[in-house]
Structure formats: structure tokens, C-alpha cells
Symmetry: C2
Subunit: 393 residues, 2 copies
Amino acid sequence: MIARIIEVEKNTMSQTVGVVKTEYFTFAQESEKLMLESGKSLGPVTLAYETYGELDANKENAILICHALSADAHAAGYHEEESDPGWWESMIGPGKAFDTDKYLIICSNVLGGCKGSTGPSSINPGKGKPYALEFPVITIADMVNAQRHLVDHLGIERLLSVAGGSMGGMQVLQWVASFPEKVRSAIPIATALKHSPQQIAFDEVVRQAIMADPDWRCGDYYEYGQPERGLAVSRMIGHITFMSEHSMEEKFSRKLRNGKYSYDFAADFEVENYLRYRGDKFVKRFDANSYLYITKAMDYFDLSGSGLIPLGRDIDTRFLIISFKSDWLYPSYQSQEIVRLLKCNYVDATYCELPSTYGHDAFLVDINEQQELVRHFLDKTYNGYSVVSSYVL
Amino acid sequence: MIARIIEVEKNTMSQTVGVVKTEYFTFAQESEKLMLESGKSLGPVTLAYETYGELDANKENAILICHALSADAHAAGYHEEESDPGWWESMIGPGKAFDTDKYLIICSNVLGGCKGSTGPSSINPGKGKPYALEFPVITIADMVNAQRHLVDHLGIERLLSVAGGSMGGMQVLQWVASFPEKVRSAIPIATALKHSPQQIAFDEVVRQAIMADPDWRCGDYYEYGQPERGLAVSRMIGHITFMSEHSMEEKFSRKLRNGKYSYDFAADFEVENYLRYRGDKFVKRFDANSYLYITKAMDYFDLSGSGLIPLGRDIDTRFLIISFKSDWLYPSYQSQEIVRLLKCNYVDATYCELPSTYGHDAFLVDINEQQELVRHFLDKTYNGYSVVSSYVL
């Protein structure tokens, strides 16, 4: 039944890009290996990616979307035989903020991921089995460097925009730091120049929960199955930080599953049940080692000081920075630090703090105003006119 | 060397109660079993407790201190052969806020605990081995009911005050709800009338981390050893929530242990090292099952609505309510809910939000102003004069 409804939607909703397919690009073969920040090298490297829309004649309408911690290249539309759309379906499509009638949208799974791009669960060609912990520790700069190879491969010299939330926003900032000449505009959302010790602490607990599970087997679990219990606990911690206290109160309050206390250790409260469900669901779709590598990359990321804009470098990338008032994982002050750094370096930057109550999840789920901000900002960048620069909520 | 310094301090510092000893009170034997909120009964019940100071002739100067999640009866002074003082040494002693020259201070380990009071690690007399999960789920009201037996046993009809922070504050509120005639004044600090879904969520993840450890063995681990890895992860989560973002920044910032990134999964950052250290230390001193039972009791606690003050009941208990601006685990709005409920019921209540940056830990570590507030409040309660009621910071 759901499948049929989806089918109808696919056919009739003009706002979706419809059925899409993931593609794969492999590079850094043999002598051309990808040099990593750690000093190690990696190759061959495959990136899974999707594109929506068409490149224009001047190749000036390409937008790169960067995903957050546990997402993938499937940002919009539907995969054949699947009922869930891509993770930013609400933002990408005909007539939407990332308007596929105007722009070519590209999204790739990050290096280190587990959704088709090379990561710890990929086969280590030298060994004929998954890398596991022999996969080198990678950084956000390494992820972006890999994406740059993909963008070159697609024949795009300069991106109209790079956009993303959370870790996606870190990649946006890293694009400007690494390849400023290739980025006409940048949209970092709900992100930071660097993790605070509290953010590092949450990531460390997430990693410890995975590594504490004996089924993790020092990373060598691929022939036995995932460290499911540890990974589920990790994800439960994550979900608490993604929501605001307010949105938890709205969604769950102290609602009981069975109307009364069980007086045992069952899930009495709806919120407990929700977290258990989320944890269990996650272990079916995400590789535990990828979770370790990607959180480590986020913790290492630090573009404060002269990291984003080296001394003496002129940046003509335009910025739209968005944060959410109720986001306590990436609080607004961190976005304001980005804005301050940019403004002090004469960079064109617009900043909006949106009043959503959804916490860090807001950039994925509460997109009405975000939609308009992005739409106008891209219009202005592409067409050279707009009203956005004075638009502050 | 440390032992010698401590020895000198014990001898010369007038502010400590000096060497103290834990005592034990056993009740609820055979036909007199303790009835629990769940409908089950429990007995015999032992409470470990300590007292500091002397009861006055009228038996009107006794103050009960209630401890938080992982503390115990040892609130002040030093145990023979130990160098660490009790957990609220800064607040209890001669000339301190809880002045042992004036008052008799009592502190007992909670029912369900693992520091001498009956809990899941105690021997189940019917079975000759630890209760483990056969221990009944207990509530804050059950803890307080057990304390009431101890207070009766000590010959005290009415307490001058009941005081405590966090879960200690819940017990304070429960004392007023259960035995209002026995409580002349109440000092709930950094606490709440009920857990929000976010607080329940953190507790649930803490429990899941323990229960996910195969060494937990469905609670029956006593002959094998603790589920150390799960319990350590639990405590790491706790420590993040006890500190504020600000105090983490002050203490750790992004300081690296070895001055550079390891590019592996070692603890690169000081904050990671601190959490691992705290986790490892905790498993040596606290029973995993007690952690499950006590967090569950906190989640069940709910004195909102008419729970604290049943309709038509007159309360002449005086209240001092304290919260801390940077405490995001028990945010000030929760203390303000207590104040509102009291004021609407014509109860004498003074409220102060203190500007400490230490987060939830503040009631244990940042006590200068708290000390003065409590001192004046107790003076007024005991002597019937003071200036405290207009003292609002």
C-alpha cells in the first residue's frame, strides 16, 4: 500500500526528481594514490555519488551537497524499489531551494563512509579482505580532496555553491579553505569551525560504546557481524543530542507506553522506546567502524585562527550561514564565530539564526525558512541579483 | 606524603568533623517488612549512615542530608586510613553551612545503593546470594520511607531540615510530600519535580550501556565481576551532563595529550582522557545494578500536579530552593517550577539561581554562595530570626 502511494507520488509530484541511481567514480589507482593529511596514502578510492538536474552550457550551475555523519550520496528522489526518499528530499527537486530545474546538484558519500565510497568496510586490495582498522584515519580535508577529484571528473571547474549541515557544513568550510577558487558560494548550516570539548566528549563516548562491545573485535568483525549492542547505544546518545529538550517534550513528554510503570527495566516511557527503536534500526544500515572514523574526522577538524582564510588570501566566495536557536549540539555561537571570522576578513557573509525548536535535526526537518533563504541566496549568486543580503530574521 | 598532609589537616583544621565511622541500622525484619510503592515488600532492610555533631536537649537540631545518584552515607570527615573526605566536606563541619557545632547532621546511603544499605548487591536472605534483578524496583518514596525508619530510630520526631542536590533534592521534596509534619525546612538544590524526557533519555542510555555489556549477564554478574566496559561508558555519559560546556572549555579546551594528533583511536584530547579515567575509576567503586535501580527511581519520580502538596493540605515547611545558571541537566526552569508550585500553595519559599559556571556539578564544587544561603536559612529556621527571606541574588 505504501509502495503504491509512493508510486503515485513519484508520478504526480512535480517537486521530486523521481527515480534516481547511485553512480560510482574510482580514482587514485596505483601510482596516483590519494595523499592524506596523516601522511599516509590511499588508493584506489571510489566515491559513490548521485546527480540531479543538468549542467548548463557554461558549466556554472553545479552545486555540491555535503552530507552529515551518517547520511550518504542519496540526497533526493527515490531508488528503484524503495519507498523512502533521499535524506534532503525536502530541499532538493524541481522548484525547491536546490532547484533541479535550474541547477545540477551533486552529492557524494564521504571518504570513510559505508554507502558505496571507500571506507573501513571496503576491501583492502593488498589483503583481499575489509580494511577494518588498517584503513587510515582520514580528515575532513581528505574527504573534500576526494570530492574535488569527483568534481574535476564531472568537468566542473567552479562550483556555484557547496552546501551542507552539521559535518556537511564542515566540508563546506573545508572546500573554501582548500579550494577557494573553485567555490563561488558556500552554505554552511548548523556547524562549527571546530568541535568544542563537549562535542569531542560526546563523540568519544560514542566511540567508546562501540569499542566496549566485544563483538567489535578490535574492528575485525566483518565475518561475524556488527557490534550491534555498542553501535545501538552510540546511536541512542546521538539521537538525544540531535533533538532539543523542547522537541522531546513536545514529542514524548512523560508519556508511558502502557499507561503505568512496569516496575522492571522494560521501556516504560515512550522516549525510551523511541531511542531503542532508533538504535536497533541504525545497526542495520551503518557500519560501526565508519562511525569511528567519521566522528574522529569531525573531532580533528579545526579551521579556527587562520585555518579558514590564510593570512593575505582574498576570498570572493559568498557565504550564507544558518544556525538554529534550539540546536544545543552545534549552538548558534559557533556559527557566529564563522561569521565573525569572515566579516573580519572582508568576506561577503549573511547570517541567520532560525527560531526552529527542533534542535540540531532542524536543518533536516524544519526547512520552511531555510528553503527560502537558500533559494534567494542561490538566485543572487547565479543571477547576480536579489534581496537576500539584508534578510535577517 | 599525602596521608601525612591529610593527618595534619585532620588535627589542625577546625572545619572538619575529623575521623568518622559509618554505622548501620537494620529494620523491617520478618513480619514488619517494608512495603514498597510497587506493591512488593522488602526486608530486612539495612541503612548505612553517619552522624556528625550532637542532638540538642529538645531534639530540634537534626538535619538530614540526602545524597545524589552515586554518593553514599559518608558526607563529611575522614574514614580511618582514607585520604579523601566525605562528598560534601565543603558544606558540613564546624562553622560551615551545615554547622556541626550547632546541628546534628545525618546522612544515610539510599535504599537500592551499594555502600552499605540494602540494594541489588546485598544478600537475598531467601537465596543466600545477591538479589541481582530479584531486588524489587524501588522509588524515591521508598528511599525516603526507609530513611524515616532511621530518623525514628534516632529518636527524632521532627527534622530541622532535609537538604540535598540532584537526586538528593528529589528526596527532599519527597520528604515533604510523604511526611510534611516531620520537616521544618527543606533545601532542594539543582533538582526537579519530575524528569523531563531528555533526562529520562540520558538515564535510559546509561542503563542500555550497562545492559549491552555481555558481562552484565542479566544482572547475575556478582561471582564473575562487574560489567566494567558498559558501566564505564555509562559514567562517561554522566560526566558530560554533569559539566557545563563552559567548564569543559575552561578545563580542557582542545588541549592535546601529546601535542599532536595520533591518527589512530587513542585518546588524543585531554577531555577524552579525562572521561576514560572517570569511567575506569567508577567501575571500581559502584555497583552496576545499583546504577540501574537508582536511575529508574529518578525517572519514576513525579511530584508535579498535586504530588508535592495534596489538595487542601497546609504545609508549614519553609523552603530554600537553589539552582545554577549553567546547569543544563537540571535547568533552572525546573527549580522555578518547584517555586511556583509552592508559592501558589502559600508555602514560604526562597529561591536563588546562582551564577556558577560549573554546570550540575556546582552544588558539589562551587559552594561559596550556596554556603552562605544555607547558613542563613538554617539560622533563621532554628533561631527564628534572619535576613535570608529577602536575599535574592
